[in-house]
């Protein structure tokens, strides 16, 4: 069939083979350790990445076990504790047992937010809801939305990227132009508009289920080109590799080549990129909640907590610090862990 056209390439065979050996998980691995083992060893030595990884795991556990934590502390996230709050200022009493006005005016209030053994991070102004419990519950929403939307991004991006890279020609052109269009989309504005107009009961969902679905869809559906571009680029180079040629010459179907030959080599960059995409999506969800188009109250969400805190910044700064810190730590941990992962898998870094 097309043997002659292969002749020039075979001249480069030794080099290509060497390159193939470096492809993560690629065939022809010469080292006795797999690349994954090497990466794991490198990652373990990377203290920053490990600490971040532990924080990520703790966050995920906290989110999963939020109801248990809240129960253990006896503080459901929506329970009002107005008896602990001085109503005029909306701030916690300095001493809830002594609510006598100071100097005939109002009782003394606690500018540090009523932090106590019962309320580890203090109380929300006005309602007196437990901040620790709300932040832990907030992690549920943030992480759930971030993971689901990242999953959607990755699924769409990988599929379209791999097809574009492998098929080339007009398919590539169409998909690449689609990527350009999607990347140019004013995503935030679109999200705000869409959340407002989608009616309850749409695709059988309502309330927060619907909100989450819409947000996940928006983030996932409009951020796939980032992953698709990386996958496409990798695929472009992989499809010329010898092992792909070999599979093809053995008569393997396109599907086999795409998913059994090329895809395994893409797992690492996808994994690394997903880890870096998660914090971006956490921020996006927080921004939407901040703007009032996120999750419905009273379900706690970090972005919502931040926007409510703005009104109290001068008198109750703790209220802005804790949710802010939650977002900051989560995003930083995911980013640093993602960086560590990338370094660990990078064939160019030496041990």
């Amino acid at each position: 069939m097309s043997a002659p056209s292969h002749a020039p390439e075979s001249a480069e065979q030794p080099e290509a083979a060497a390159a193939a050996a470096k492809v993560p998980g690629g065939r022809g691995d010469a080292d006795s350790r797999s690349l994954r083992q090497i990466a794991w060893q490198r990652l373990r030595k990377d203290k920053v990445a490990m600490v971040s990884g532990v924080i990520v795991v703790l966050l995920i556990l906290a989110a999963i076990f939020a109801p248990l934590l809240a129960k253990w502390l006896g503080q459901p996230p929506t329970q009002f504790n107005q008896d602990l709050i001085e109503p005029n200022t909306g701030l916690p009493y300095a001493d809830p047992n002594n609510t006598e006005p100071v100097g005939g005016l109002i009782p003394e209030v606690d500018n540090w937010g009523g932090i106590s053994g019962d309320h580890l991070l203090g109380l929300e102004p006005k309602t007196g809801r437990d901040l620790f419990s709300r932040i832990v519950y907030g992690a549920q929403i943030s992480l759930l939305v971030a993971f689901l939307s990242t999953l959607l991004c990755v699924a769409l991006g990988t599929l379209l990227g791999i097809i574009a890279g492998y098929k080339g020609g007009w398919v590539d052109t169409v998909i690449s132009r689609a990527m350009d269009i999607f990347l140019a989309f004013p995503l935030m504005l679109f999200a705000i508009a869409l959340v407002g107009v989608i009616p309850n009961g749409f695709i059988g969902l309502e309330g927060n289920g619907l909100r989450i679905a819409v947000i996940v869809f928006i983030i996932g559906f409009f951020n796939w080109p980032y992953i698709a571009r990386i996958v496409r680029g990798q695929t472009l180079s992989l499809r010329e590799r010898e092992f792909v040629e070999a599979a093809r010459s053995l008569g393997a179907s396109n599907r086999h080549i795409l998913f059994k030959e090329i895809l395994p080599n893409l797992i690492t960059p996808i994994l690394v990129y997903s880890t870096l995409l998660i914090p971006t999506n956490i921020l996006f969800e927080a921004a939407l909640s901040f703007l009032g188009v996120g999750i419905n109250p009273p379900t706690p969400s970090w972005g919502k907590m931040l926007s409510e805190a703005v009104a109290h910044y001068s008198t109750a700064p703790y209220f802005i610090i804790f949710p802010g810190l939650a977002i900051f730590v989560t995003v930083l941990a995911f980013n640093l862990f993602g960086d560590g992962l990338r370094d660990a898998f990078d064939p160019k870094t030496s041990d």
């Binding site: 009002f80 107005q82 109503p87 909306g90 005016l105 309602t127 309850n200 109250p297 009104a311 008198t315």
Partner: protein, 583 residues
């Protein structure tokens, strides 16, 4: 509904504020008299009374006028402020607190005279009144002003349409008509100083409508449509210095052709009046405290940041603070189409009103409300309480009985609609959600864009039915301080609309409707007040409205201001009275 509170209070929604309990008790006694600077003194008396003229009175506002054109404005502060350069037929009495809700004359030579069934009103204006250019003000100019502000095909969109809805007039458009004065037959001008208003139906409270800025005269040849707001032809003590610059500034200087002897409501003390537009709320509050500004034009009180600062250092600020009622009722609609009467009453019994009151900022945020009409309105009985409970924590047994009665012994689920960006509205919904849980009534909170809340969501009959909206958090401020001015649009069956529905609970009660009709043919204000009291009781009995608080605003009263007092008719300081003394 004047847009004042609904537009702004919510923004500074912690515009809930302060010390009613300590303050009002003392100052209540010297009501109406001159008061020394003390906490809340300006709410009930005149602080720093003075006749001294001169100086520049400096206003600032964080947003802007909807329009400076008297024929095109619906903000409460704007109705108060436009009086500087736009005299109206009637006016509110220049006096502190409730005394201000009495009507008096401005351009008019005497109070309007009705015919037997209140369908025709005749009013005469003073002779010899002049505009800033020296030409004489005539009845025809007032007729034209009313025409342009009510029949303009959307050219001047902001103002209310009380004249359009009450006058016996075929629809027309001033700006398309070849002879608008000829076509506008509902108002007759038999001579240059007499106006005769012909109404469709009896309207005993029509004189209140004549206080609105739409009755300020505009000569037909001076009208520039939507551009008229740039430089309004003044009939009052001040005129525009240069143009009004939207988003930037408005400056006023003395109008030499105004004659104080003809004007019972404007002492016109300052020589100049300036307005800085688009200054951040925090900056305005701080500069007023620093003495760099005099008054926050928006008239809704200080923002939440400054309020907290005041509260935490009361001893330093106490004597400069006023904490009057804002005139608004904050309440929750209980929608009649989705919930039966007994179910609605169950909600009224189960609600933890103490929690709601705390969520609104306690005593300084407002007075716990158990009835419909605000205390400033004749006929209001704030002591009445049809759903009493110990410490206002809710009566769960009575609530359960009502649930049994409506066949929902195990509780039910419904949705409560809330406007976005209004922390106090949201806290109201969250508090209700918690307290109704106690009788297994589950509320799902949904937030909606504030600007479309009544047009598309809670105020849309279809949306309410399709989405099982059982409750919605709302607020209301009267267009004028009477039971009709406050309650008609939110409780009359005749006021129900398919969209933009402010009778949001869709209460359509025969008895209530009949009482509204009766009020409009009753001449004696005291008799009308009695009718309004009956309506109040019926509405609460029907549990169509769950009152939350009569809210209070917190004002900082600068020491350099003279003649300062709070007027209930605009629910802010009386801007016409203010002067400055920089001494």
């Amino acid at each position: 509904m004047r847009k004042r509170t609904l537009g702004f209070v919510a923004l500074g929604a912690a515009a809930s504020i302060f010390l009613a309990a300590c303050g009002s008790g003392d100052s209540g006694e010297n009501g109406g008299s001159d008061a020394a600077a003390a906490f809340d003194a300006g709410s009930t008396g005149v602080v720093n009374p003075s006749e001294e003229t001169g100086g520049t009175l400096r206003y600032a506002i964080s947003s802007d006028f909807d329009s400076t054109d008297p024929g095109d404005t619906y903000y409460g502060f704007s109705w108060n402020f436009t009086r500087y350069y736009a005299r109206t037929l009637l006016a509110f009495t220049p006096a502190p607190a409730e005394a201000s809700t009495e009507l008096t004359t401005d351009l008019a030579a005497g109070m309007p005279e009705p015919n037997d069934d209140f369908t025709q009103w005749t009013v005469k204006i003073q002779e010899g009144l002049k505009y800033e250019d020296g030409t004489e003000i005539t009845a025809q100019d007032i007729k034209y002003a009313i025409a342009r502000s009510n029949y303009n095909g959307g050219e001047l969109p902001n103002g209310p349409r009380y004249f359009e809805s009450s006058l016996d007039q075929e629809p027309f458009n001033v700006y398309e008509s070849s002879d608008p004065m000829e076509e506008f037959t509902a108002i007759e001008t038999p001579d240059d100083y007499t106006l005769v208003f012909n109404l469709k139906e009896s309207f005993s409270e029509f004189p209140y409508v004549l206080t609105q800025p739409q009755t300020a005269p505009v000569p037909e040849e001076a009208d520039r449509g939507a551009l008229y707001k740039e430089n309004v032809l003044s009939s009052g003590p001040y005129k525009f210095e240069g143009q009004y610059e939207p988003g930037v500034k408005l400056d006023l200087v003395r109008n030499e052709n105004w004659d104080g002897a003809t004007d019972p409501i404007r002492p016109a003390l300052p020589d100049e009046v300036t307005v800085e537009i688009g200054v951040a709320q925090e900056e305005i509050d701080q500069r007023i405290v620093n003495g760099e500004l005099d008054v926050d034009l928006s008239g809704v009180g200080v923002g939440p940041t400054m309020k907290s600062q005041f509260l935490q250092d009361l001893e330093s600020y106490e004597t400069n603070l006023d904490n009057p009622l804002s005139g608004a009722l904050r309440y929750v609609n209980i929608h009649t189409p989705n919930l039966e009467t007994a179910c609605r009453q169950a909600i009224a019994f189960a609600a933890d009103r103490d929690s709601l009151h705390r969520a609104w900022g306690g005593d300084t945020g407002g007075d716990l409300a158990t009835n419909l009409l605000p205390p400033t309105i004749p006929g209001s009985d704030p002591e009445s309480d049809l759903y009493p409970s110990e410490d206002n924590k809710g009566d769960l047994e009575a609530a359960q009985d009502k649930l049994d009665e409506c066949g929902e012994s195990d509780g039910f689920k419904t949705v409560i609609a809330v406007r976005d960006g209004r922390p106090n509205d949201l806290a109201t919904a969250e508090s209700l959600q918690e307290s109704l849980k106690r009788v297994n009534i589950e509320l799902e909170i949904k937030t909606f864009p504030a600007e479309d809340f009544f047009a598309q969501y809670a105020g849309s009959q279809d949306y309410v039915r399709e989405n099982n909206i059982g409750l919605s958090v709302s607020g209301w401020i009267p267009d004028w301080a009477s039971g009709y001015g406050f309650g008609y649009k939110i409780t009359s069956g005749d006021a129900i609309q398919a969209t933009g529905n402010y009778n949001t609970s869709e209460l359509d009660d025969q008895e209530v409707n009949a009482l509204w009709d009766e009020a409009l043919t009753t001449e004696d204000p005291d008799e009308r007040a009695e009718i309004y009291a009956q309506i109040d009781t019926l509405v609460i009995e029907q549990a169509a409205i769950l009152p939350v608080v009569f809210d209070r605003a917190m004002f900082y009263r600068s020491d350099e201001l003279t003649n300062v007092y709070y007027t209930s008719s605009y629910a802010m300081y009386d801007y016409m009275a203010l002067g400055v003394n920089r001494g």
